[in-house]
């Protein structure tokens, strides 16, 4: 599913992104407030849903190569977070939906669960 379609589905605002990042696809998603989970399970093409704010969240998403971050329950990233995300071309999506509702909508629309088992060496 394209990032702009995800933004519409979640009745969300997309920040820190241009037309090319909005047309990227994210076919799998996972939700976490732990940065090490993001590092362990994040992959290109994955969408992260979180309630966590902070520059380290953006940095972690950039390092793991995930496609976009969705902030739930009306949380808004700070100016510093948006700047950092712009530099790494990482779309930030803000929805007022709860984590449960946002995950449900995405699942219903065909965004699959991220594979959190195929971790190298485990």
């Amino acid at each position: 599913m394209r990032i702009d379609e995800i933004t519409n589905l979640l009745q969300a605002d997309a920040l820190a992104c241009d037309m090319s990042s909005l047309s990227q696809e994210a076919d799998f998603a996972f939700a976490s407030d732990f940065l090490s989970d993001v590092l362990a399970f994040g992959r290109p093409g994955y969408l992260l849903l979180t309630g966590l704010l902070g520059c380290q969240l953006v940095r972690t998403a950039e390092i793991s190569g995930i496609s976009a971050v969705v902030f739930v329950r009306g949380k808004r990233p700070t100016h510093d977070m948006v700047e950092l995300a712009q530099r790494s071309a990482l779309p930030l999506i803000c929805t007022k939906m709860t984590m449960y509702e946002a995950c449900g909508k995405l699942y219903q629309a065909g965004v699959g669960p991220a594979d959190c088992t195929s971790v190298r060496g485990s």
């Binding site: 732990f34 590092l39 969240l57 390092i63 190569g65 060496g121």
Partner: protein
Amino acid sequence: MSSADNTKLQFEIIARDFIRAGDAAATIKRYLSQHGFDAELVRRAAVAAYEAEMNIVIHSRGGMLTALIEPDAILITAVDVGPGIPDIPLAMTEGFSTADEEARRMGFGAGMGLPNMKKCSDKFEISSQKGTGTMVRMTLNRHK
């Protein structure tokens, strides 16, 4: 041979500097991407370097992070001055963490740092001396 061979990227990591934390790993990731390394190898190197960098920031009094690009492997070394790890097998257990409240508020402290580093590496070596510091050395093979 590639133009990146024998390149050494070295960074001083400042303890408790959560503003700059992650800059070193992001620089390593950018360098590897720009030099055409395989995307999955870049991701593993970036995650391994970032976890090592954050461990220095959170747990030590400061240290160095180095990435050495050899023809057959990428070597990532993290050396810190600090309290050391008294029980390495326990620290390697998924879910075990000694991160403080400030680090936990930022989303760290899941107890996945060292296990993540090991999983991202083809060879993982760790040594630590109580009251002196810790050294982690990770080898990521460039060719399967």
